[in-house]
């Protein structure tokens, strides 16, 4: 019982911190940490999309940056080329990513493990190179900057993301909604079907589950989450760039998810937060801090393949068992 209490307490602390961050962080450290925290929240969605696939249906995707990039370019191209408003551009970006996930997924989920990982890299590379060479549309290497349209405008009054606090809470709301959605799906019959396929796909088919369709659904959902992350990041940075579609970005997301702990809802936030804070703190002090990241990745895979979240879960279960056995043998 006490363990779930700790867990609940931790979650509430996270929520409280998130809601007060724009005032607390400048007091504690520096106001630019508010932006970094926004960034952590956005990138954690990309890690969460890796986690949905790896942690819940058992597919290792090394190409989630593709959908991040589609979300990003959808917003930028929507604003620059089609003159879309804020919401239409946002929705356009997410739809583009989700649609791409449906197409890529229908091919990719025919394969599993190594082959699946390779084909996801290949898909993301195809579009990375396309974005690089298709300069009139994507801006190639330089990227595609844009001016952010207002969210609502009444005559002269305009509500825009240039207001720092408003931007922060917009990001918090969208990211929060995504986690709520993931929570619902994971605890739904569909989420159970995901886990069943992860556990044993041959058995899952024998009890009547359409393994292909379940994997595809998960893939599209993960693509949607990555697309939201990309669309948010475009709005946050006011530009889109091909470099975010490279497989190194996908790889980083995999690293964050694994260090945070796959198969846990909040693992990706923990992993992303830890690694980004590490980067911000270390990169100014030590130019080659990436060495440390590489070592951390290998050590995690060797010694704690279930990451921080998994280690916490294991500890919680151990304590629960001890309490249980004490109750059994107690007076």
């Amino acid at each position: 019982m006490r363990v779930t209490d700790t867990y609940k307490f931790g979650s509430w602390l996270l929520v409280l911190f998130t809601l007060t961050a724009p005032w607390v962080l400048p007091l504690l450290v520096d106001s630019f940490w508010v932006d970094i925290y926004s960034e952590i929240l956005i990138w954690s969605l990309l890690a969460a999309s890796v986690n949905l696939l790896l942690g819940y249906v058992g597919l290792l995707s090394f190409g989630q940056a593709l959908f991040f990039g589609f979300g990003m370019y959808g917003v930028a191209i929507g604003v620059v080329k089609f003159d879309l408003g804020f919401w239409s551009a946002f929705i356009f970006g997410i739809s583009l990513a989700t649609g791409m996930a449906a197409i890529a997924g229908s091919l990719a989920v025919r394969l599993t493990w190594h082959y699946f990982a390779i084909i996801t890299v290949v898909f993301s590379l195809i579009f990375y190179f396309t974005a690089l060479s298709w300069k009139p549309i994507t801006g190639g290497d330089d990227g595609l900057p844009f001016t952010i349209p207002p969210i609502i405008s009444f005559g002269d009054y305009k509500l825009t993301m240039t207001n720092a606090n408003f931007q922060y809470f917009f990001i918090v709301t969208i990211v929060g909604a995504c986690y709520w959605l993931m929570y619902r799906v994971i605890n739904s019959p569909l989420g159970r079907a995901f886990v069943t396929v992860r556990e044993n796909d041959a058995r899952a088919a024998l009890i009547g589950l359409n393994v292909y369709l379940i994997r595809l659904t998960a893939f599209i959902f993960a693509g949607f989450i990555a697309g939201v992350a990309g669309a948010l990041f475009a709005l946050f940075g006011r530009y889109a760039s091909a470099s975010y579609m490279f497989y190194h970005v996908s790889g980083e997301a995999v690293v964050w998810a694994i260090i945070g702990g796959v198969g846990t809802l909040f693992g990706p936030i923990v992993g992303t937060g830890l690694m980004i804070v590490l980067r911000e703190e270390l990169s100014s002090v030590w130019d080659h801090y990436l060495l440390l990241v590489g070592v951390a990745v290998i050590l995690t895979v060797i010694f704690a393949p279930r990451g921080i979240g998994g280690a916490f879960k294991a500890l919680a279960e151990k304590i629960a068992r001890q309490q249980f056995s004490r109750k059994e043998s107690g007076p």
């Binding site: 799906v185 079907a193 069943t196 556990e199 044993n200 058995r203 024998l206 009890i207 009547g208």
Partner: protein
């Protein structure tokens, strides 16, 4: 309805490269009986199960289940038609609890996978899981993770998975393989209980058990059906004695 055979296998062939695993197999099984398939190793018994459940495609021939052709249909479609099986190497969902294992099997049969409802609120499957738990005698272990179960309990759970899909026909592939005498006895009783409500085809090496529980026995050898009949007629069949029971004294 009553004159339609439950399972009808017509001229089924299966080749793996040059190896003929099944040769012109013909079988017609009626509903409401406990059938057994026996035969030496390599006779094609498990291959027959594999083609019937859609795990591997047939090279030629037709398979009908309750009058509907389902040759080379997708595995999950065949399962939803009401054909369930257990595997020779026992397999369940290891990191899920017993209850969750049974719940997903029951839910899968109803076929609704809402992404928003809480899975614990799918009352029908929750109830079904409890009923099956009771039926296979694992109620006390319902909240244990499947990977913590004993070998015998895993075999029972696997049977429970099959039952939770409310099958019309249950295929059991060596259900008591690797069990001790006590577990064997317990499992055999369960199988007999189940056979009162569900048709069963069982592959089993333990001849004693087979002759005790089966209503009808099919003998296979070298990928073909050698004989089919009641336990008494099989016991008396000289072909079977020569080709299988006599030959196989090294087994």
């Amino acid at each position: 309805m009553s004159n339609v055979p439950l399972l009808e296998v017509t001229n089924v062939n299966k080749r793996f490269g040059g190896l003929k695993a099944l040769q012109d197999v013909n079988l017609s099984l009626e509903t409401g009986k406990l059938h057994a398939i026996i035969g030496p190793n390599g006779a094609g018994k498990t291959t027959l199960f594999n083609v019937v459940t859609g795990t591997i495609p047939v090279t030629s021939g037709r398979i009908k289940f309750l009058g509907t052709d389902m040759t080379n249909d997708k595995i999950h479609r065949i399962s939803r038609r009401g054909l369930a099986r257990t595997l020779q190497i026992k397999s369940v969902f290891a990191n899920m609890t017993v209850r969750e294992n049974l719940w997903i099997a029951a839910q899968s049969h109803h076929g609704v996978f809402s992404p928003f409802k809480s899975w614990k609120k799918c009352v029908r499957s929750v109830e079904m899981a409890d009923i099956i738990c009771e039926q296979i005698g694992l109620t006390s272990l319902a909240d244990q993770t499947a990977s913590n179960l004993s070998h015998g309990d895993i075999a029972l759970l696997e049977m429970g998975l099959a039952l939770a899909t409310e099958p019309k026909l249950l295929l059991l592939d060596e259900p008591i393989c690797g069990m001790g005498p006590a577990e064997t006895e317990q499992t055999v009783i369960k199988i007999q209980e189940i056979s009162k409500s569900t048709a069963i085809i069982i592959i089993e090496h333990d001849i004693e058990v087979v002759f005790k529980i089966a209503d009808e026995i099919t003998v296979m050898a070298n990928g073909t059906v050698l004989a089919k009949g009641t336990p008494e007629s099989i016991a008396a069949n000289s072909d079977v004695r020569n080709a299988y029971l006599g030959d196989d004294d090294d087994d």
